[in-house]
């Protein structure tokens, strides 16, 4: 029992040590932005470029502009390993330092943290992942998931397929396969897929990939070969993606009929299959490449000065730029918050308001040095925390992603009712879910 005593002692000692650095970080002349990231664990291949892009952009703002509105950003990464327990631990360890936003970067962690956001008054950005229903601002005032939901993504993919097939009516009798990560993330599109399938008369084939089996999909692809679907749609992440691409190439599935969601479009997802992956399609909502002035600023201020972990040749890759997009949203929300409140050192509550009035017009994109990097963000407001913005389709040419379509708008009218219903369902199941009390800044 005494050992336990020692242990408790050690624990006490460490708690005693903690406030020291906590108070350090919480100094009022900076804005604390924790970035949950995962550079370790099974999803590290996707996690590393995103983490790099996220922190490089914010650090670039510090270097180039001296932060936002003259206030330095205190950027701190917290390693989650894509593990829920560690994510919760990260949330707890950062919470006390007055973060202005939570950036969980994992649907699993997001789900755990959604109920806490309103209690702890920290807005949470789950950019195009997490709980789709959280787009309903009335029910989830603290959660933001722009620029689009998975349902939006699915609708865009169906739209693209219909376009290729020659119209929605041509979908009738077709078979569309859906290979997905067998968890909350991959399962979310299922109801909409069901609706579409009924509406347009195509048959769906489901190929779930259990989390433990991400790197062993031969069974699923054997079935794909047997079923011979006309199209394959993929909702994959991490190691699941390159495996699926390789497997698809192995069974000689036509790669230009294989479409992934935006989380299946990393450079490292397609590259291992090399030329065999040529033609593989994914959705994307951020630009690829280093041609953007802002990206050049990152290279100048961060990459070339060595203030980063990023390898220079990885800058501009899809997921790296995805990370930049994510940080850009955070930065814009903070900037908005400063504008709305007139304060410099803004709080979580302020930033929530900043998110609710998030607008990035074509012009603003240009101001940011990111012209054409993303579709204009125009629809985020108190009621809609997502906006259902457009994305485009990109294709792997064996070396790089190539943008092959213009912005494709989602079928918002199909998606929105589903969202409303899901949000309602969530609220009824979670008895005692708080009613929205937060005021709305932009009545428009």
């Amino acid at each position: 029992m005494r050992m336990k005593g020692l242990l408790v002692g050690a624990v006490l000692a460490s708690t005693a040590a903690m406030p020291a650095f906590v108070s350090n970080a919480a100094a009022q002349d900076s804005i604390y932005v924790p970035l949950f990231s995962y550079r370790t664990g099974p999803f590290a291949n996707s996690g590393i470029p995103i983490a790099n892009g996220m922190s490089d952009y914010l650090n670039m703002l510090n270097e180039r502009d001296g932060g936002i509105g003259g206030v330095k950003l205190n950027v701190e990464e917290c390693e989650t390993g894509y593990n829920t327990e560690k994510g919760v631990a990260c949330y707890e360890s950062t919470k006390s330092k007055n973060p202005v936003v939570t950036n969980p970067y994992s649907t699993g962690i997001t789900l755990q943290l959604i109920p806490r956001a309103s209690v702890d008054k920290i807005p949470m950005l789950s950019m195009a992942y997490g709980l789709s229903a959280s787009a309903v601002g009335e029910s989830f005032p603290w959660i933001f998931n722009p620029p689009a939901t998975y349902w939006d993504g699915l609708s865009m993919i169906i739209k693209h397929i219909a376009g290729k097939e020659g119209g929605f009516e041509k979908l009738k009798g077709k078979t569309i396969g859906y290979i997905f990560f067998d968890g909350g993330y991959g399962r979310e599109p299922l109801p909409l897929l069901d609706i579409f399938s009924k509406k347009y008369g195509f048959e769906t084939k489901l190929y779930p990939v259990p989390p433990a089996e991400m790197q062993n999909q031969s069974g699923q692809w054997l079935n794909v070969r047997k079923d011979k679907p006309d199209w394959m749609i993929m909702w994959g992440w991490g190691a699941m993606n390159p495996t699926a691409v390789k497997e698809a190439a192995r069974i000689k599935f036509p790669m230009d009929k294989f479409v992934g969601v935006w989380w299946s479009g990393g450079d490292d997802d397609a590259r291992p299959a090399g030329d065999d992956a040529k033609g593989y399609l994914t959705l994307n909502f951020n630009g690829v490449g280093t041609q953007y002035p802002a990206i050049q600023d990152i290279v100048k201020h961060i990459i070339s000065t060595g203030k980063t972990q990023t390898q220079p040749d990885k800058v501009g890759e899809n997921l790296y730029n995805r990370g930049v997009y994510n940080s850009m949203l955070i930065a814009e929300a903070i900037r908005n918050a400063q504008k709305i409140t007139g304060k410099k050192a803004v709080t979580g509550e302020d930033v929530r308001r900043g998110f609710e009035s998030l607008t990035i017009t074509q012009a603003r994109w240009k101001e940011l040095g990111l012209e054409g990097f993303g579709a204009p963000i125009t629809n985020v407001n108190c009621a809609d925390h997502n906006g259902h913005h457009a994305a485009y389709m990109q294709q792997w040419n064996g070396k790089n992603w190539v943008k092959i379509t213009d912005w494709i708008a989602p079928m918002k009218e199909e998606v929105r009712p589903l969202l409303e219903a899901a949000a309602k369902d969530y609220v009824t199941k979670n008895v005692g879910w708080p009613k929205r009390t937060e005021p709305c800044d932009r009545p428009s």
Partner: protein, 358 residues
């Protein structure tokens, strides 16, 4: 050294058979309990309580559960994660089906569901032993996890396929859901863990504990004592699963707040098994020590490194933590293959004969 046992004598078997026959140990445990119940919640940060102490306690309980099966009864199981999951899902279903009943009732009741499931999967243990049994429990793990993912009824048809924890109170204080303060949750967890540890210690010290150990050590002789092997093994499965089930329910209701099936994956089984092994087979104290080393250290180490002001990237810290924890586990297992509990036992023995060497 501080063990001064002169003058501590027993005049009855009752006194001789208490958990802590040595006064210094009794004082020690009281001090630890005081610290645990009062000092820690009053002085620790929310992070400490929520991210360290609560899961540490919950995993300790799960480790006790597995220890009952593996350490005391000698039955190797790789299904701990799934049995925890059964507890979690059972608790979720029960608490949403009967919202009127107090949540803590369901936390405990979910243990019984888990126990029932444990008994079913324990049936093969009469015929198979060792690694073969481990494989059978592995099947349980996969089957149950499959159930968690495939049976939407278990999650009340949530699209996210996750359990979401309802808000519940105890004496008007939130203990589950986001409004529950870490302190409140910590107290609830601590109380349950302390009570269940006490019950487990009663059990393993009595007839049933001896039956388990007898089956573990020499089943032929046990049979000759009139111990029915199947009943004894199934009882071990039931009790073990009960503990794991309660731990699983607490994990979701008092720690995560919501959970997906992945929380109860094979990794969780291995984690708990390594806690048992590192802590020491057949030791309740070891269960706590194992949980502390395997679970708490990886969380505290990066914090400590950051606290020391080492300019380390979070991922690097993570890697270093991995290495340190791995090295520590190997170190402890080399120094003492019977786990931390045995290490402590030896240390205690040395303290008792202090300053003599033997």
């Amino acid at each position: 050294m501080f063990y001064r046992e002169a003058g501590q004598f027993k005049t009855s078997y009752r006194a001789d058979m208490t958990v802590f026959p040595i006064t210094q140990d009794r004082i020690g445990i009281i001090v630890i309990l005081l610290i645990a119940f009062i000092v820690i919640p009053l002085t620790s940060s929310n992070f400490m309580l929520h991210a360290v102490m609560i899961p540490f306690l919950i995993f300790s309980l799960a480790t006790i559960g597995l220890n009952i099966l593996t350490g005391y009864t000698g039955l190797l199981s790789l299904g701990t994660g799934a049995f925890m999951g059964v507890g979690a899902y059972a608790c979720y279903k029960l608490s949403t089906l009967f919202p009127g009943v107090h949540i803590l009732v369901w936390v405990v009741a979910s243990g019984f569901v888990s126990a029932a499931v444990g008994i079913v999967f324990g049936l093969p243990s009469l015929r198979i032993k060792g690694f073969y049994l481990a494989v059978a429990t592995l099947a349980a793990q996969f089957f149950l996890q499959w159930c968690f993912i495939r049976i939407p009824w278990l999650v009340n048809y949530n699209v996210s396929n996750a359990i979401e924890v309802p808000r519940r109170t105890l004496f008007g204080v939130h203990i589950t859901g986001p409004e529950a303060t870490p302190q409140a949750r910590y107290w609830v967890v601590l109380t349950i863990v302390v009570v269940m540890t006490w019950l487990a210690s009663n059990l393993v010290r009595g007839r049933i504990g001896r039956m388990w150990m007898a089956v573990r050590d020499m089943d032929i002789a046990a049979e000759l004592m009139g111990i029915r092997l199947l009943n004894t093994k199934l009882l071990a499965f039931a009790v073990s699963s009960f503990y794991c089930g309660v731990a699983g329910a607490m994990l979701v209701f008092l720690y995560y707040g919501s959970a997906e099936a992945t929380a109860f994956s094979i990794n969780q089984s291995f984690a708990v098994l390594s806690m048992v092994i590192v802590g020491g087979l057949g030791s309740l104290l070891g269960s706590f020590m194992g949980a502390a080393l395997i679970f708490t250290l990886p969380i505290l180490l990066p914090q400590l490194m950051a606290g020391l002001g080492l300019p380390i990237q979070s991922a690097t810290a993570e890697h270093i933590t991995f290495m340190i924890v791995g090295a520590l586990i190997i170190f402890f297992l080399i120094v003492e293959p019977h786990g931390l509990a045995r290490l402590w036992q030896i240390a205690k023995q040395k303290l008792r004969v202090w300053p003599y060497p033997y």
